[in-house]
């Protein structure tokens, strides 16, 4: 695999994730989040996980982002949204977060890291689609969690409607 597309996608995704977290305007950070999600979808494509790339675009960049932007616009009349971005606790939180990030980086770049890993050659040649294999697995080995997750979706749907509904004066 040529590695400059990977570098480009990873760089773009990391940069837009940074802007998502630190941008002043929440609408802008939502749009940068869309860019991050799309670069995650592209990296799924580069990893030859085509089904997940499509799911990522449809569910994340489509459905979830529409929900988030909708609620952003619903709550936009709070005038002090851009006043003070960070918590009082943020110095401590930055220290703890940087500790975790340093841990992850040292795990990945240490002596027993995965630097020698390469894509298995069977993956580079055949295996154009993962749809069939994933479908088989979902309906045989993972059929029970699949049904369970559908119940979870139904419960979340009912809960979202029940919570967000306007309460009647009883």
């Amino acid at each position: 695999m040529n590695s400059w597309p990977v570098l480009f996608v990873v760089g773009l995704g990391t940069l837009s994730a940074l802007l998502t977290v630190f941008h002043k305007n929440p609408i802008h950070s939502a749009l940068f989040l869309v860019l991050t999600l799309l670069s995650v979808a592209t990296s799924f494509l580069l990893l030859r996980a085509d089904f997940l790339a499509m799911i990522q675009v449809i569910v994340y960049a489509g459905a979830i982002m529409v929900l988030i932007i909708f609620v952003l616009l619903l709550t936009a009349r709070d005038p002090r949204q851009k006043e003070r971005l960070f918590h009082r606790q943020s110095p401590m939180a930055i220290v703890i977060g940087l500790c975790l990030i340093a841990e992850l980086v040292s795990l990945l770049s240490g002596r027993n890291s995965l630097i020698s890993w390469r894509l298995p050659s069977a993956f580079l040649e055949g295996q154009a689609h993962t749809f069939k294999a994933l479908g088989k697995l979902l309906f045989t080995k993972y059929a029970f969690p699949f049904e369970l997750v559908s119940v979870l979706l139904l419960v979340a749907l009912v809960a979202a409607v029940a919570i967000a509904k306007k309460e009647e004066a009883s």
Binding site: T20, V21, T75, D78, L137, A159
Partner: protein
């Protein structure tokens, strides 16, 4: 540095940035977006390991993670709307109705 390491670094970066966002931002919507970032970092790591070990279980798990993320976003945003109706603010340190 190979592609696997690059993707794993990408996942770690997404997770770390999401964690920072959850910890330091005041706006609840940005906190929810940062949670989505963290879930995406986990997904990138899952898919990388799944492809490099040639085992599809990681991708199945990523599908379930995406489903749970959708549920979480729906319920979280509904709670936020209900809370905004009660007290018109989106700053997390002003939501102190239960504090005394």
């Amino acid at each position: 540095m190979t592609e696997a390491t690059l993707f794993l670094f990408f996942g770690a970066a997404l997770f770390g940035l999401g964690l920072l966002g959850v910890l330091i931002r005041r706006n609840v919507l940005v906190v929810l977006m940062s949670i989505e970032l963290m879930l995406n970092g986990v997904n990138v790591t899952f898919v990388t390991f799944s492809q490099f070990r040639m085992d599809l279980a990681g991708q199945i798990f990523a599908i379930f993670v995406i489903t749970v993320a959708a549920c979480e976003a729906a319920v979280g945003l509904a709670i936020l709307v209900a809370l905004f109706r009660l007290k018109p603010t989106v700053q997390s340190d002003e939501m102190n109705l239960l504090k005394w």
